[in-house]
């Protein structure tokens, strides 16, 4: 579904991604782990189309298309969704309004009829239940005055409503208490399907106890230094990033 090849990305003069290679298949849950400043969030934003990042080399093929050639809105319409680490507050724009506008923009792109409020509302209410969210969320302005946990849950609500093919969760777990974490994880798990891929970007192993990944990749200093199965996450928990990084360097220096 997604193939990232030799991706180099700069912000200003600073190179952040230094040749990332990654394959994600439909049906897969892929965890990208790494220490602060390793480039995890950059990778997530580049996939969503943030223009402040400059791609200097490499390419990203999504469902056979050149993803980097698409505007952010076109990527969303093609089924890419980024759950933000820091969701943006938008005063004056209602949550329900945004959900419906986004939902219909994507439907329109797919040649489907737009839903009116009467048909849309029941659909949203069902998703709210899934995330144990109150209906009053819908009438509030997007993320305005939301607590950290509410913002994260709101991202997952959008995810649940928009049903993307490729979901990228950027540190959706950070700052969540265990109850909120479980709710968010169950919301994500409900979306697991053979047609959908989920990339979970996280600093901590904890989330992966609830969203069990099929593959784990360790990103350090703009490169993926280790890839493995679920057990790699546990090893990281045990040894820390520096331990894994040291081993990797050792492995590179003295090939066995």
């Amino acid at each position: 579904m997604l193939a990232i090849r030799n991706l180099h990305v700069k912000v200003g003069d600073r190179e952040i991604l230094k040749g990332v290679d990654l394959e994600v298949n439909a049906g897969e849950v892929c965890a990208i782990m790494g220490p602060n400043g390793s480039g995890k969030s950059t990778l997530a934003h580049v996939l969503a189309g943030r223009e402040t990042y400059e791609v200097t080399a490499g390419d990203v093929i999504y469902e056979g298309k050149n993803l980097l050639g698409l505007y952010p809105e076109a990527r969303a319409c093609e089924g890419v969704f980024l759950a933000f680490q820091y969701p943006v507050e938008i005063p004056g724009v209602g949550n329900a309004y945004l959900l419906k506008a986004a939902f219909n923009a994507i439907r329109k792109h797919r040649g489907l009829e737009e839903l009116d409020a009467m048909d849309f509302l029941p659909l949203v209410k069902e998703k709210l239940k899934l995330l144990d969210m109150d209906e009053e969320f819908l009438s509030r302005a997007v993320n305005e005055g939301f607590s950290g946990g509410e913002k994260k849950r709101n991202e997952i609500l959008q995810l649940a409503v928009l049903e993307p093919r490729l979901a990228i969760l950027d540190e959706t777990d950070s700052g969540l208490d265990i109850d909120a974490l479980k709710i968010v994880a169950s919301g994500v798990n409900a979306l697991r399907s053979p047609e959908r891929a989920i990339i979970v970007v996280t600093h901590y192993q904890r989330l992966l106890n609830y969203i069990v990944p099929d593959s784990v990749h360790v990103l350090v200093d703009g490169r993926i230094v280790r890839s493995g199965g679920r057990e790699l996450a546990l090893e990281l928990e045990d040894k820390g990033y520096s331990g894994v990084e040291a081993e990797t360097q050792l492995a590179v220096a003295t090939p066995s």
Partner: protein, 447 residues
């Protein structure tokens, strides 16, 4: 400067001709006010940017244009021609003025509740001037304000509304001021007087439109006298042509426990000055001053607020939002004056601005003059650009960039529009703002 002096002389000449035939000229009190206002204008001349109140607005284009008093004989528009200006869903009274003169054929004076008087000022001046003598020219300051002096010298027609004690008008009174094409640049001096008796309630809408792109100048003064415990909602909509000059003064005299809201929407005009001057004269009055100004091209939109707290225990809240695009320039000058006896005043002022282009400009200036010691006054101003993080967030949800921009600007505009409580008026204004947003640069700017 000689062009300006010449222009002032021509106003004097024009006044001499006007005064003879002007409606109500037989009445001494009116003659005297007109004359003293004319004399005052001659002394004051047009303001310059050296004056603090006009620091950000240069009226030379007005001073240097030779205007003629709009006269009768223009071709009046038909009801159909006015339809495009909308507001057709307002069921109440509608007065239409074309080039400053009342047009009975385009107006509708029904349904008129018992005791309410609504009509043309000149008609009232010639038939029943009692109430007028008591109020006309008593509040608007023609001693210090040149435009007000000029209006007062040439005042003749406009709307007169008198709501008797205890009367509640459920429908807004809609006043439409149409500028029809003239051979030379025309000047009009609409003069409105609204008198709301004790315990009464009314909503007044002033709407200024142009039928063509001609240069013209609307120099407006509206005096509103609000009796004890009365509620008045006033709306001013400026949507004249991009060549129009517009200076208007809303002067509100508030009695005890009265409740007033002034709402402005400035979309049109080349050079616009919007003066809002409430005086909270009685105890416990409340005043909301709410506005939205949206400029593009070379427009200059100046909002000058002068909120005077003269009585104790009064509240005033000013909220003005500006959206400026192109090379347009906006001004918000918010004066709050708290007089010595106006203890327990609570006055608030907020001006928020969005600049959509590098060349758009805003000058915002709070000015607090507080002579009482037990008061609460706050003010704040912000100037910013559209939030690019929010744009990206919306785009990442599948919303096209142009729509995302319009969504954010609409939300910003709705802060102001949301304070307008009359639903049919608000909906109409939301429509006007929506048109501005979709036809203006926010859309062009995008791919």
């Amino acid at each position: 400067m000689s062009a300006v002096t010449h222009a002032q002389d021509s106003y004097l000449e024009s006044f001499a001709r006007f005064e003879e035939g002007a409606g109500g000229s037989g009445q001494e009190w009116l003659r005297s006010i007109r004359r003293s206002a004319m004399a005052r204008f001659s002394e004051l001349g047009f303001p310059t940017t050296h004056e603090e109140d006009w620091r950000f607005t240069n009226v030379a284009p007005i001073a240097e244009t030779s205007f003629r008093l709009a006269e009768d004989g223009h071709v009046s528009p038909t009801v159909r021609e006015l339809e495009r200006f909308g507001f057709s869903d307002l069921a109440g009274i509608r007065l239409v003025f074309v080039n400053g003169r009342y047009e009975p054929g385009l107006s509708r004076l029904q349904p008129l509740p018992e005791g309410v008087k609504v009509g043309s000022l000149v008609h009232e001046l010639t038939t029943d001037p009692g109430t007028l003598e008591q109020h006309l020219g008593r509040y608007a300051d023609y001693q210090h304000d040149a435009f007000c002096a000029l209006n007062t010298a040439f005042m003749q027609d406009g709307a007169f509304v008198h709501i008797p004690r205890g009367t509640v008008l459920s429908e807004p009174i809609y006043l439409l001021y149409v500028s029809a094409p003239t051979a030379d640049p025309a000047i009009t001096h609409p003069r409105n007087l609204i008198v709301a008796g004790e315990d009464s309630q009314a909503t007044i809408v002033e709407d200024y439109v142009s039928l063509s792109g001609d240069v013209h100048f609307s120099n407006v003064v509206t005096e509103v006298v609000v009796g004890e415990n009365s509620v008045v909602r006033h709306y001013r909509i400026e949507r004249e042509s991009a060549q129009a000059f517009h200076v208007s003064t809303l002067r509100v005299q508030q009695g005890r426990s009265s409740d007033v809201a002034s709402h402005s929407l400035l979309l049109g005009g080349a050079l616009v000055r919007n003066n809002v001057h409430p005086v909270l004269a009685g105890d416990g009055g409340d005043c909301l001053i709410n506005g939205l100004f949206m400029g593009t091209g070379e427009q200059h939109l100046d909002n000058y607020m002068k909120v005077e707290h003269a009585g104790p225990h009064c509240n005033s809240r000013q909220f003005y939002n500006g959206i400026l695009d192109g090379r347009s320039r906006g001004v918000f000058h918010g004066r709050i004056i708290v007089h010595k006896d106006a203890q327990k005043t609570n006055a608030k002022q907020t001006n928020r601005n969005l600049l959509l282009s590098d060349e758009a400009q805003i000058d915002t200036k709070p000015q607090l003059e507080i002579h009482a010691d037990d008061v609460k006054c706050t003010h704040g101003a912000t100037i910013g650009q559209i939030d690019e993080d929010a744009i990206f967030y919306l785009r990442s949800r599948g919303i096209a960039e142009a729509s995302a921009r319009i969504m954010l600007l609409s939300a910003f505009a709705r802060e102001s529009l949301g304070r307008m409580k009359n639903e049919s008026i608000r909906k109409h204004l939301e429509g006007l703002v929506g048109q501005w947003l979709t036809s203006g640069k926010p859309l062009e700017e995008t791919r």
